[in-house]
Subunit: 314 residues, 2 copies
Protein backbone atom coordinates (compact mmCIF):
# COMPACT_ATOMS: atom_id res chain seq x y z
CA UNK A 1 0.00 0.00 0.00
CA UNK A 2 1.37 3.41 -0.87
CA UNK A 3 1.04 6.36 1.47
CA UNK A 4 -1.53 8.01 -0.82
CA UNK A 5 -3.93 5.12 -0.15
CA UNK A 6 -3.21 5.15 3.57
CA UNK A 7 -4.07 8.82 4.02
CA UNK A 8 -2.77 11.45 6.40
CA UNK A 9 -4.17 10.09 9.64
CA UNK A 10 -3.16 6.52 8.82
CA UNK A 11 0.37 7.80 8.24
CA UNK A 12 0.50 9.72 11.50
CA UNK A 13 -0.59 6.50 13.22
CA UNK A 14 2.32 4.74 11.49
CA UNK A 15 4.82 7.34 12.68
CA UNK A 16 3.60 7.14 16.26
CA UNK A 17 2.69 3.43 16.22
CA UNK A 18 5.53 2.40 18.46
CA UNK A 19 4.54 4.93 21.10
CA UNK A 20 4.40 3.34 24.53
CA UNK A 21 3.31 5.24 27.57
CA UNK A 22 5.95 6.46 29.95
CA UNK A 23 5.60 8.18 33.28
CA UNK A 24 7.09 11.37 31.89
CA UNK A 25 4.59 11.61 29.01
CA UNK A 26 1.34 13.13 30.32
CA UNK A 27 -0.43 13.42 26.94
CA UNK A 28 0.94 11.27 24.11
CA UNK A 29 0.27 11.33 20.36
CA UNK A 30 -3.23 12.04 19.04
CA UNK A 31 -4.18 15.43 20.43
CA UNK A 32 -3.44 18.99 19.23
CA UNK A 33 -0.19 18.78 21.17
CA UNK A 34 1.61 16.43 23.53
CA UNK A 35 2.42 17.17 27.15
CA UNK A 36 5.76 16.02 28.57
CA UNK A 37 7.05 16.41 32.11
CA UNK A 38 9.88 18.88 32.64
CA UNK A 39 10.63 18.08 36.29
CA UNK A 40 13.63 20.38 36.24
CA UNK A 41 11.53 23.46 35.42
CA UNK A 42 13.45 23.86 32.15
CA UNK A 43 13.35 22.11 28.84
CA UNK A 44 16.15 21.63 26.31
CA UNK A 45 15.12 21.71 22.64
CA UNK A 46 16.88 21.10 19.35
CA UNK A 47 15.78 20.47 15.76
CA UNK A 48 17.32 18.97 12.61
CA UNK A 49 16.04 18.32 9.10
CA UNK A 50 17.09 15.50 6.75
CA UNK A 51 16.31 15.39 3.03
CA UNK A 52 16.58 12.42 0.72
CA UNK A 53 19.49 12.68 -1.71
CA UNK A 54 21.28 15.15 0.52
CA UNK A 55 21.39 13.47 3.93
CA UNK A 56 20.58 9.90 2.99
CA UNK A 57 20.04 7.70 -0.04
CA UNK A 58 17.47 4.94 -0.07
CA UNK A 59 19.82 2.67 -2.03
CA UNK A 60 22.53 3.11 0.64
CA UNK A 61 20.47 3.09 3.83
CA UNK A 62 17.36 1.20 4.92
CA UNK A 63 14.36 3.13 6.27
CA UNK A 64 15.26 1.75 9.68
CA UNK A 65 18.79 3.15 9.35
CA UNK A 66 17.44 6.55 8.30
CA UNK A 67 15.07 6.61 11.27
CA UNK A 68 17.85 5.75 13.70
CA UNK A 69 20.15 8.37 12.17
CA UNK A 70 17.46 11.09 12.22
CA UNK A 71 16.82 10.41 15.89
CA UNK A 72 20.50 9.99 16.80
CA UNK A 73 21.67 13.32 15.43
CA UNK A 74 18.99 15.11 17.43
CA UNK A 75 19.47 13.08 20.61
CA UNK A 76 23.20 13.88 20.40
CA UNK A 77 22.43 17.62 20.49
CA UNK A 78 20.59 17.11 23.77
CA UNK A 79 23.43 15.00 25.17
CA UNK A 80 25.85 17.79 24.18
CA UNK A 81 24.05 20.11 26.60
CA UNK A 82 24.48 17.56 29.39
CA UNK A 83 20.78 16.73 29.32
CA UNK A 84 18.72 13.54 29.06
CA UNK A 85 16.44 13.27 25.99
CA UNK A 86 12.78 12.83 26.95
CA UNK A 87 10.59 13.25 23.87
CA UNK A 88 10.69 13.63 20.13
CA UNK A 89 8.27 14.94 17.49
CA UNK A 90 8.60 14.18 13.78
CA UNK A 91 7.52 16.18 10.75
CA UNK A 92 7.52 13.96 7.68
CA UNK A 93 7.15 14.90 4.03
CA UNK A 94 6.67 11.92 1.69
CA UNK A 95 5.68 11.30 -1.94
CA UNK A 96 2.19 9.77 -2.33
CA UNK A 97 3.75 6.84 -4.19
CA UNK A 98 6.06 5.84 -1.33
CA UNK A 99 5.43 2.39 0.10
CA UNK A 100 3.79 2.74 3.50
CA UNK A 101 6.12 -0.02 4.74
CA UNK A 102 9.03 2.42 4.30
CA UNK A 103 7.35 4.85 6.70
CA UNK A 104 6.60 2.05 9.16
CA UNK A 105 10.27 1.00 9.12
CA UNK A 106 11.44 4.60 9.47
CA UNK A 107 9.28 4.98 12.57
CA UNK A 108 10.59 1.71 13.93
CA UNK A 109 14.13 3.07 13.50
CA UNK A 110 13.24 6.34 15.21
CA UNK A 111 11.65 4.48 18.12
CA UNK A 112 14.56 2.03 18.41
CA UNK A 113 17.09 4.84 18.75
CA UNK A 114 14.86 6.70 21.23
CA UNK A 115 14.63 3.58 23.38
CA UNK A 116 18.41 3.65 23.89
CA UNK A 117 17.96 6.80 25.98
CA UNK A 118 14.43 6.37 27.32
CA UNK A 119 12.85 9.02 25.04
CA UNK A 120 9.42 8.68 23.39
CA UNK A 121 7.95 9.80 20.05
CA UNK A 122 5.06 11.95 21.26
CA UNK A 123 3.78 13.56 18.08
CA UNK A 124 4.12 14.16 14.38
CA UNK A 125 2.84 15.74 11.23
CA UNK A 126 2.77 14.15 7.79
CA UNK A 127 2.48 16.04 4.51
CA UNK A 128 2.98 15.21 0.87
CA UNK A 129 6.28 16.25 -0.73
CA UNK A 130 8.44 15.32 -3.72
CA UNK A 131 11.54 14.38 -1.73
CA UNK A 132 11.35 12.48 1.54
CA UNK A 133 11.87 15.10 4.24
CA UNK A 134 12.30 14.26 7.92
CA UNK A 135 12.24 16.99 10.51
CA UNK A 136 12.95 15.87 14.07
CA UNK A 137 12.68 18.01 17.18
CA UNK A 138 13.79 16.59 20.49
CA UNK A 139 13.30 17.69 24.10
CA UNK A 140 15.59 17.02 27.03
CA UNK A 141 15.72 17.37 30.78
CA UNK A 142 18.71 18.84 32.65
CA UNK A 143 17.91 16.98 35.89
CA UNK A 144 18.66 20.12 37.90
CA UNK A 145 22.06 20.81 36.35
CA UNK A 146 23.07 23.91 34.41
CA UNK A 147 23.31 23.39 30.65
CA UNK A 148 26.83 22.87 29.31
CA UNK A 149 27.06 25.46 26.51
CA UNK A 150 29.88 26.39 24.12
CA UNK A 151 30.92 29.48 26.03
CA UNK A 152 32.76 28.27 29.12
CA UNK A 153 36.13 26.96 27.87
CA UNK A 154 39.04 28.71 29.61
CA UNK A 155 42.83 28.73 29.14
CA UNK A 156 44.30 25.76 30.95
CA UNK A 157 41.34 23.49 30.28
CA UNK A 158 41.84 20.11 28.67
CA UNK A 159 40.06 19.35 25.36
CA UNK A 160 38.69 15.80 25.21
CA UNK A 161 36.54 13.67 22.94
CA UNK A 162 34.11 10.82 23.53
CA UNK A 163 32.98 8.69 20.61
CA UNK A 164 34.16 8.02 17.09
CA UNK A 165 35.70 10.49 14.68
CA UNK A 166 35.98 9.96 10.94
CA UNK A 167 34.10 6.68 10.75
CA UNK A 168 30.95 8.03 9.06
CA UNK A 169 33.02 10.05 6.57
CA UNK A 170 35.04 6.96 5.67
CA UNK A 171 31.83 4.97 5.27
CA UNK A 172 30.40 7.63 2.98
CA UNK A 173 33.61 7.64 0.91
CA UNK A 174 33.39 3.85 0.60
CA UNK A 175 29.76 3.96 -0.57
CA UNK A 176 30.60 6.83 -2.91
CA UNK A 177 33.16 4.64 -4.66
CA UNK A 178 30.67 1.86 -5.14
CA UNK A 179 31.86 -0.42 -2.34
CA UNK A 180 29.84 -1.82 0.56
CA UNK A 181 32.65 -2.80 2.91
CA UNK A 182 34.34 -2.62 5.37
CA UNK A 183 30.87 -3.04 6.81
CA UNK A 184 31.75 -1.44 10.13
CA UNK A 185 32.51 1.91 8.44
CA UNK A 186 29.53 1.77 6.09
CA UNK A 187 27.32 1.02 9.09
CA UNK A 188 28.84 4.01 10.90
CA UNK A 189 27.64 6.22 8.04
CA UNK A 190 24.19 4.62 8.10
CA UNK A 191 23.67 4.74 11.86
CA UNK A 192 25.91 6.89 14.05
CA UNK A 193 26.55 5.78 17.61
CA UNK A 194 26.67 8.98 19.68
CA UNK A 195 28.11 8.46 23.17
CA UNK A 196 24.89 9.57 24.87
CA UNK A 197 25.94 8.68 28.40
CA UNK A 198 29.19 10.63 28.02
CA UNK A 199 27.24 13.88 27.75
CA UNK A 200 25.75 13.50 31.21
CA UNK A 201 29.06 12.18 32.58
CA UNK A 202 30.79 15.30 31.25
CA UNK A 203 28.21 17.59 32.86
CA UNK A 204 28.52 15.78 36.20
CA UNK A 205 32.30 16.03 35.93
CA UNK A 206 32.22 19.82 35.56
CA UNK A 207 32.74 20.21 31.80
CA UNK A 208 33.23 23.91 31.03
CA UNK A 209 31.95 23.58 27.44
CA UNK A 210 30.68 20.85 25.15
CA UNK A 211 29.61 20.34 21.52
CA UNK A 212 28.27 17.59 19.31
CA UNK A 213 30.54 16.89 16.30
CA UNK A 214 28.13 16.88 13.37
CA UNK A 215 30.05 18.84 10.69
CA UNK A 216 33.60 17.79 11.58
CA UNK A 217 36.01 18.10 14.49
CA UNK A 218 37.83 21.26 13.38
CA UNK A 219 34.67 22.97 12.16
CA UNK A 220 32.63 22.26 15.28
CA UNK A 221 35.31 22.76 17.92
CA UNK A 222 35.85 26.16 16.33
CA UNK A 223 32.38 27.10 17.63
CA UNK A 224 33.63 26.53 21.19
CA UNK A 225 36.77 28.62 20.49
CA UNK A 226 34.75 31.54 19.10
CA UNK A 227 32.02 31.38 21.76
CA UNK A 228 34.57 31.08 24.57
CA UNK A 229 37.07 33.58 23.13
CA UNK A 230 40.17 31.40 23.28
CA UNK A 231 42.37 29.15 21.15
CA UNK A 232 41.75 25.41 21.17
CA UNK A 233 44.94 23.49 20.45
CA UNK A 234 44.61 19.96 19.12
CA UNK A 235 47.53 17.52 18.97
CA UNK A 236 47.03 15.15 16.07
CA UNK A 237 49.14 12.46 17.75
CA UNK A 238 46.46 12.26 20.45
CA UNK A 239 43.72 11.58 17.89
CA UNK A 240 42.97 7.90 17.71
CA UNK A 241 43.01 6.51 14.17
CA UNK A 242 41.02 3.33 14.58
CA UNK A 243 42.18 0.26 12.66
CA UNK A 244 39.26 0.18 10.17
CA UNK A 245 39.98 3.82 9.32
CA UNK A 246 43.67 3.19 8.82
CA UNK A 247 42.94 0.19 6.59
CA UNK A 248 40.38 2.01 4.46
CA UNK A 249 42.66 5.02 4.10
CA UNK A 250 45.52 2.78 2.98
CA UNK A 251 43.26 1.12 0.40
CA UNK A 252 42.14 4.55 -0.90
CA UNK A 253 45.64 6.04 -0.68
CA UNK A 254 44.15 8.70 1.60
CA UNK A 255 45.24 10.29 4.89
CA UNK A 256 42.96 8.92 7.64
CA UNK A 257 43.60 12.05 9.72
CA UNK A 258 41.63 14.05 7.17
CA UNK A 259 38.57 11.93 8.02
CA UNK A 260 39.24 12.28 11.74
CA UNK A 261 39.74 16.06 11.61
CA UNK A 262 37.06 17.00 9.09
CA UNK A 263 34.58 14.13 8.81
CA UNK A 264 31.05 14.81 10.03
CA UNK A 265 28.04 12.73 11.12
CA UNK A 266 29.65 10.59 13.83
CA UNK A 267 28.19 12.77 16.60
CA UNK A 268 31.09 12.37 18.96
CA UNK A 269 31.10 14.79 21.89
CA UNK A 270 33.97 17.19 22.48
CA UNK A 271 34.17 18.88 25.87
CA UNK A 272 36.62 20.99 27.85
CA UNK A 273 37.45 20.24 31.49
CA UNK A 274 39.53 22.03 34.13
CA UNK A 275 42.93 20.31 33.91
CA UNK A 276 43.21 19.30 37.54
CA UNK A 277 39.91 17.40 37.55
CA UNK A 278 41.00 14.66 35.17
CA UNK A 279 38.54 13.24 32.64
CA UNK A 280 35.28 11.34 33.08
CA UNK A 281 34.99 7.82 31.72
CA UNK A 282 34.72 7.66 27.96
CA UNK A 283 36.69 10.83 27.25
CA UNK A 284 40.19 10.96 25.77
CA UNK A 285 42.37 14.07 25.82
CA UNK A 286 43.09 15.54 22.37
CA UNK A 287 44.47 18.97 23.26
CA UNK A 288 44.18 22.00 25.50
CA UNK A 289 42.75 25.50 25.69
CA UNK A 290 45.10 28.49 25.53
CA UNK A 291 44.91 32.25 25.37
CA UNK A 292 45.11 33.58 21.83
CA UNK A 293 43.01 34.46 18.80
CA UNK A 294 39.78 32.48 19.00
CA UNK A 295 40.22 29.58 16.62
CA UNK A 296 41.64 26.10 16.15
CA UNK A 297 45.33 25.25 16.15
CA UNK A 298 46.37 21.76 15.06
CA UNK A 299 49.96 20.77 15.87
CA UNK A 300 50.86 24.44 16.31
CA UNK A 301 49.33 25.49 13.00
CA UNK A 302 46.20 27.66 12.87
CA UNK A 303 43.61 26.04 10.59
CA UNK A 304 40.91 27.91 8.71
CA UNK A 305 37.24 27.15 8.58
CA UNK A 306 37.54 24.84 5.58
CA UNK A 307 38.22 21.98 7.95
CA UNK A 308 34.57 21.01 8.09
CA UNK A 309 31.64 21.19 5.80
CA UNK A 310 29.06 23.77 5.19
CA UNK A 311 25.97 22.18 3.62
CA UNK A 312 25.38 25.12 1.29
CA UNK A 313 28.88 25.89 0.16
CA UNK A 314 30.36 22.44 -0.18
CA UNK B 1 22.36 37.40 -2.66
CA UNK B 2 21.04 33.86 -2.93
CA UNK B 3 21.11 31.44 -0.04
CA UNK B 4 23.89 29.41 -1.67
CA UNK B 5 26.24 32.40 -1.34
CA UNK B 6 25.13 33.10 2.20
CA UNK B 7 25.93 29.61 3.45
CA UNK B 8 24.37 27.49 6.18
CA UNK B 9 25.43 29.50 9.21
CA UNK B 10 24.54 32.82 7.58
CA UNK B 11 21.09 31.39 6.92
CA UNK B 12 20.61 30.16 10.46
CA UNK B 13 21.53 33.67 11.61
CA UNK B 14 18.85 35.02 9.29
CA UNK B 15 16.22 32.68 10.70
CA UNK B 16 17.05 33.58 14.28
CA UNK B 17 17.99 37.24 13.61
CA UNK B 18 14.94 38.65 15.29
CA UNK B 19 15.62 36.70 18.48
CA UNK B 20 15.44 38.95 21.51
CA UNK B 21 16.20 37.72 24.96
CA UNK B 22 13.33 36.97 27.27
CA UNK B 23 13.31 35.95 30.90
CA UNK B 24 11.93 32.52 30.02
CA UNK B 25 14.72 31.74 27.51
CA UNK B 26 17.80 30.53 29.42
CA UNK B 27 19.90 29.60 26.36
CA UNK B 28 18.85 31.13 23.04
CA UNK B 29 19.91 30.31 19.46
CA UNK B 30 23.51 29.40 18.67
CA UNK B 31 24.28 26.36 20.80
CA UNK B 32 23.63 22.63 20.28
CA UNK B 33 20.20 23.20 21.77
CA UNK B 34 18.19 25.95 23.43
CA UNK B 35 17.00 25.94 27.02
CA UNK B 36 13.56 27.30 27.84
CA UNK B 37 11.90 27.62 31.23
CA UNK B 38 9.01 25.28 31.96
CA UNK B 39 7.89 26.78 35.26
CA UNK B 40 4.90 24.49 35.37
CA UNK B 41 7.02 21.33 35.40
CA UNK B 42 5.45 20.26 32.10
CA UNK B 43 5.91 21.32 28.52
CA UNK B 44 3.39 21.25 25.69
CA UNK B 45 4.79 20.45 22.23
CA UNK B 46 3.37 20.38 18.71
CA UNK B 47 4.85 20.29 15.20
CA UNK B 48 3.65 21.13 11.67
CA UNK B 49 5.28 21.07 8.26
CA UNK B 50 4.50 23.36 5.30
CA UNK B 51 5.66 22.73 1.73
CA UNK B 52 5.66 25.18 -1.14
CA UNK B 53 3.03 24.39 -3.74
CA UNK B 54 0.98 22.41 -1.26
CA UNK B 55 0.54 24.73 1.72
CA UNK B 56 1.46 28.04 0.15
CA UNK B 57 2.33 29.61 -3.20
CA UNK B 58 4.93 32.33 -3.49
CA UNK B 59 2.82 34.16 -6.09
CA UNK B 60 -0.15 34.22 -3.69
CA UNK B 61 1.57 34.90 -0.35
CA UNK B 62 4.57 37.01 0.63
CA UNK B 63 7.39 35.42 2.62
CA UNK B 64 6.17 37.42 5.60
CA UNK B 65 2.66 35.95 5.18
CA UNK B 66 4.09 32.42 4.98
CA UNK B 67 6.13 33.00 8.14
CA UNK B 68 3.14 34.29 10.04
CA UNK B 69 0.99 31.38 8.84
CA UNK B 70 3.62 28.77 9.71
CA UNK B 71 3.90 30.16 13.23
CA UNK B 72 0.15 30.72 13.65
CA UNK B 73 -0.92 27.17 12.85
CA UNK B 74 1.52 25.85 15.43
CA UNK B 75 0.75 28.45 18.09
CA UNK B 76 -2.95 27.59 17.65
CA UNK B 77 -2.23 23.96 18.57
CA UNK B 78 -0.72 25.12 21.84
CA UNK B 79 -3.69 27.44 22.50
CA UNK B 80 -6.01 24.48 21.85
CA UNK B 81 -4.49 22.71 24.86
CA UNK B 82 -5.20 25.77 27.03
CA UNK B 83 -1.49 26.60 27.18
CA UNK B 84 0.63 29.70 26.49
CA UNK B 85 3.20 29.37 23.68
CA UNK B 86 6.75 30.03 24.90
CA UNK B 87 9.25 29.04 22.21
CA UNK B 88 9.52 27.92 18.63
CA UNK B 89 12.19 26.14 16.57
CA UNK B 90 12.25 26.15 12.76
CA UNK B 91 13.61 23.60 10.32
CA UNK B 92 13.94 25.16 6.88
CA UNK B 93 14.69 23.50 3.55
CA UNK B 94 15.42 25.96 0.72
CA UNK B 95 16.80 25.86 -2.84
CA UNK B 96 20.33 27.32 -3.16
CA UNK B 97 19.00 29.80 -5.72
CA UNK B 98 16.41 31.32 -3.37
CA UNK B 99 16.92 35.01 -2.62
CA UNK B 100 18.19 35.36 0.95
CA UNK B 101 15.77 38.28 1.35
CA UNK B 102 12.91 35.78 1.12
CA UNK B 103 14.31 33.88 4.11
CA UNK B 104 14.82 37.13 6.04
CA UNK B 105 11.19 38.10 5.42
CA UNK B 106 9.95 34.64 6.36
CA UNK B 107 11.78 34.90 9.68
CA UNK B 108 10.37 38.35 10.21
CA UNK B 109 6.88 36.91 9.70
CA UNK B 110 7.56 34.05 12.12
CA UNK B 111 8.86 36.47 14.74
CA UNK B 112 5.96 38.89 14.24
CA UNK B 113 3.39 36.18 14.87
CA UNK B 114 5.33 34.88 17.89
CA UNK B 115 5.36 38.37 19.39
CA UNK B 116 1.55 38.35 19.52
CA UNK B 117 1.75 35.71 22.23
CA UNK B 118 5.15 36.43 23.81
CA UNK B 119 6.92 33.40 22.28
CA UNK B 120 10.50 33.45 20.94
CA UNK B 121 12.31 31.69 18.07
CA UNK B 122 15.04 29.84 19.98
CA UNK B 123 16.63 27.65 17.33
CA UNK B 124 16.65 26.34 13.81
CA UNK B 125 18.23 24.17 11.17
CA UNK B 126 18.67 25.04 7.50
CA UNK B 127 19.26 22.53 4.72
CA UNK B 128 19.15 22.61 0.95
CA UNK B 129 16.02 21.25 -0.75
CA UNK B 130 14.18 21.54 -4.05
CA UNK B 131 10.91 22.83 -2.63
CA UNK B 132 10.78 25.34 0.21
CA UNK B 133 9.96 23.30 3.31
CA UNK B 134 9.17 24.85 6.68
CA UNK B 135 8.93 22.70 9.77
CA UNK B 136 7.88 24.49 12.93
CA UNK B 137 7.81 23.02 16.43
CA UNK B 138 6.38 25.06 19.25
CA UNK B 139 6.47 24.70 23.02
CA UNK B 140 3.91 25.92 25.52
CA UNK B 141 3.39 26.32 29.23
CA UNK B 142 0.21 25.22 31.04
CA UNK B 143 0.69 27.68 33.92
CA UNK B 144 -0.29 25.02 36.42
CA UNK B 145 -3.51 24.00 34.70
CA UNK B 146 -4.37 20.57 33.32
CA UNK B 147 -4.19 20.32 29.53
CA UNK B 148 -7.57 20.51 27.75
CA UNK B 149 -7.53 17.43 25.52
CA UNK B 150 -10.08 16.01 23.09
CA UNK B 151 -11.34 13.35 25.45
CA UNK B 152 -13.49 15.13 28.02
CA UNK B 153 -16.69 16.12 26.20
CA UNK B 154 -19.77 14.73 27.95
CA UNK B 155 -23.49 14.58 27.10
CA UNK B 156 -25.13 17.82 28.13
CA UNK B 157 -22.09 19.96 27.32
CA UNK B 158 -22.40 22.95 25.04
CA UNK B 159 -20.28 23.05 21.83
CA UNK B 160 -18.88 26.51 21.15
CA UNK B 161 -16.48 28.16 18.72
CA UNK B 162 -14.10 31.11 18.99
CA UNK B 163 -12.65 32.63 15.83
CA UNK B 164 -13.46 32.59 12.15
CA UNK B 165 -14.77 29.66 10.13
CA UNK B 166 -14.66 29.44 6.35
CA UNK B 167 -12.74 32.64 5.69
CA UNK B 168 -9.45 31.03 4.63
CA UNK B 169 -11.27 28.52 2.40
CA UNK B 170 -13.16 31.33 0.72
CA UNK B 171 -9.90 33.24 0.24
CA UNK B 172 -8.29 30.19 -1.33
CA UNK B 173 -11.27 29.73 -3.66
CA UNK B 174 -10.98 33.39 -4.70
CA UNK B 175 -7.25 33.09 -5.43
CA UNK B 176 -7.86 29.80 -7.24
CA UNK B 177 -10.22 31.57 -9.64
CA UNK B 178 -7.65 34.24 -10.40
CA UNK B 179 -9.13 37.00 -8.24
CA UNK B 180 -7.38 38.96 -5.49
CA UNK B 181 -10.41 40.38 -3.69
CA UNK B 182 -12.36 40.68 -1.43
CA UNK B 183 -9.05 41.40 0.23
CA UNK B 184 -10.26 40.48 3.72
CA UNK B 185 -10.88 36.85 2.65
CA UNK B 186 -7.67 36.55 0.64
CA UNK B 187 -5.76 37.89 3.63
CA UNK B 188 -7.50 35.33 5.85
CA UNK B 189 -6.03 32.61 3.62
CA UNK B 190 -2.60 34.23 3.71
CA UNK B 191 -2.44 34.85 7.46
CA UNK B 192 -4.92 33.16 9.79
CA UNK B 193 -5.92 34.94 12.99
CA UNK B 194 -6.28 32.22 15.61
CA UNK B 195 -8.05 33.42 18.77
CA UNK B 196 -5.04 32.68 20.97
CA UNK B 197 -6.45 34.25 24.13
CA UNK B 198 -9.65 32.23 23.81
CA UNK B 199 -7.73 29.01 24.41
CA UNK B 200 -6.61 30.09 27.85
CA UNK B 201 -10.01 31.62 28.58
CA UNK B 202 -11.62 28.28 27.74
CA UNK B 203 -9.25 26.38 30.02
CA UNK B 204 -9.88 28.81 32.89
CA UNK B 205 -13.62 28.47 32.28
CA UNK B 206 -13.53 24.69 32.68
CA UNK B 207 -13.67 23.55 29.06
CA UNK B 208 -14.10 19.77 28.98
CA UNK B 209 -12.47 19.39 25.55
CA UNK B 210 -10.94 21.64 22.89
CA UNK B 211 -9.50 21.40 19.38
CA UNK B 212 -7.92 23.70 16.81
CA UNK B 213 -9.86 23.75 13.50
CA UNK B 214 -7.17 23.22 10.88
CA UNK B 215 -8.82 20.75 8.49
CA UNK B 216 -12.43 21.92 8.76
CA UNK B 217 -15.13 22.16 11.42
CA UNK B 218 -16.85 18.81 10.77
CA UNK B 219 -13.60 16.95 10.23
CA UNK B 220 -11.89 18.27 13.35
CA UNK B 221 -14.83 18.27 15.74
CA UNK B 222 -15.25 14.62 14.81
CA UNK B 223 -11.93 13.99 16.62
CA UNK B 224 -13.53 15.24 19.86
CA UNK B 225 -16.60 13.03 19.27
CA UNK B 226 -14.48 9.92 18.70
CA UNK B 227 -12.04 10.63 21.54
CA UNK B 228 -14.85 11.45 23.98
CA UNK B 229 -17.21 8.70 22.79
CA UNK B 230 -20.29 10.82 22.18
CA UNK B 231 -22.25 12.58 19.44
CA UNK B 232 -21.58 16.25 18.78
CA UNK B 233 -24.66 17.96 17.38
CA UNK B 234 -24.16 21.17 15.41
CA UNK B 235 -27.03 23.50 14.49
CA UNK B 236 -26.21 25.24 11.24
CA UNK B 237 -28.46 28.19 12.13
CA UNK B 238 -26.07 28.95 15.00
CA UNK B 239 -23.09 29.14 12.64
CA UNK B 240 -22.28 32.73 11.81
CA UNK B 241 -21.95 33.38 8.08
CA UNK B 242 -19.98 36.61 8.05
CA UNK B 243 -20.90 39.23 5.45
CA UNK B 244 -17.74 38.83 3.30
CA UNK B 245 -18.41 35.08 3.12
CA UNK B 246 -22.03 35.57 2.14
CA UNK B 247 -21.05 38.07 -0.56
CA UNK B 248 -18.29 35.90 -2.01
CA UNK B 249 -20.56 32.85 -2.00
CA UNK B 250 -23.26 34.79 -3.84
CA UNK B 251 -20.74 35.91 -6.46
CA UNK B 252 -19.53 32.32 -6.93
CA UNK B 253 -23.05 30.88 -6.76
CA UNK B 254 -21.83 28.74 -3.86
CA UNK B 255 -23.25 27.83 -0.43
CA UNK B 256 -21.28 29.75 2.19
CA UNK B 257 -22.16 27.07 4.77
CA UNK B 258 -19.94 24.62 2.89
CA UNK B 259 -16.96 26.88 3.61
CA UNK B 260 -18.02 27.28 7.25
CA UNK B 261 -18.55 23.54 7.82
CA UNK B 262 -15.62 22.18 5.82
CA UNK B 263 -13.09 24.95 5.24
CA UNK B 264 -9.71 24.57 6.92
CA UNK B 265 -6.80 26.82 7.86
CA UNK B 266 -8.67 29.44 9.94
CA UNK B 267 -7.51 27.88 13.21
CA UNK B 268 -10.63 28.70 15.14
CA UNK B 269 -10.97 26.91 18.47
CA UNK B 270 -13.91 24.64 19.24
CA UNK B 271 -14.48 23.67 22.86
CA UNK B 272 -17.12 21.97 24.95
CA UNK B 273 -18.32 23.39 28.26
CA UNK B 274 -20.66 22.15 30.97
CA UNK B 275 -24.03 23.75 30.07
CA UNK B 276 -24.65 25.46 33.39
CA UNK B 277 -21.38 27.37 33.35
CA UNK B 278 -22.17 29.60 30.39
CA UNK B 279 -19.45 30.50 27.88
CA UNK B 280 -16.23 32.49 28.29
CA UNK B 281 -15.77 35.66 26.28
CA UNK B 282 -15.12 35.09 22.61
CA UNK B 283 -17.04 31.80 22.35
CA UNK B 284 -20.37 31.36 20.58
CA UNK B 285 -22.56 28.29 21.00
CA UNK B 286 -22.96 26.15 17.87
CA UNK B 287 -24.44 22.96 19.27
CA UNK B 288 -24.42 20.43 22.08
CA UNK B 289 -23.05 17.05 23.11
CA UNK B 290 -25.41 14.06 23.31
CA UNK B 291 -25.22 10.36 23.91
CA UNK B 292 -25.07 8.35 20.70
CA UNK B 293 -22.70 6.92 18.14
CA UNK B 294 -19.47 8.92 18.27
CA UNK B 295 -19.63 11.30 15.34
CA UNK B 296 -20.98 14.58 14.04
CA UNK B 297 -24.64 15.38 13.50
CA UNK B 298 -25.52 18.58 11.63
CA UNK B 299 -29.17 19.67 11.87
CA UNK B 300 -30.14 16.15 12.95
CA UNK B 301 -28.29 14.48 10.06
CA UNK B 302 -25.18 12.36 10.69
CA UNK B 303 -22.38 13.52 8.38
CA UNK B 304 -19.55 11.32 7.20
CA UNK B 305 -15.86 12.08 7.28
CA UNK B 306 -15.85 13.78 3.87
CA UNK B 307 -16.73 17.03 5.56
CA UNK B 308 -13.08 18.06 5.88
CA UNK B 309 -9.96 17.46 3.95
CA UNK B 310 -7.35 14.84 4.18
CA UNK B 311 -4.12 16.12 2.64
CA UNK B 312 -3.30 12.79 1.05
CA UNK B 313 -6.66 11.75 -0.25
CA UNK B 314 -8.07 15.02 -1.49
Amino acid sequence: MDVGELGEFGLIDLVTQRFSSASHVVVGPGDDAAVVQAPDGHVVISTDMLIEGRHFRRDWSSAHDVGRKAAAQNLADIAAMGAVPTALVVGLGVPATLDAAWVAELSEGLATECELVGARIVGGDVVRSEAITISVTVLGDLQGRAAVTRTGAAPGDVVAVAGRLGWAAAGLAILGRGFRSPRVLVDAHRVPEPPYAAGIAAALHGATSMIDISDGLVSDVRHIAIASGCALHIQSNLLVVDAPLADAAAAFNADPLTWVLTGGDDHALVATFPAKRGLPEGFVMIGDVREGDPGIVVDGQAVDSLGGWDHFRS
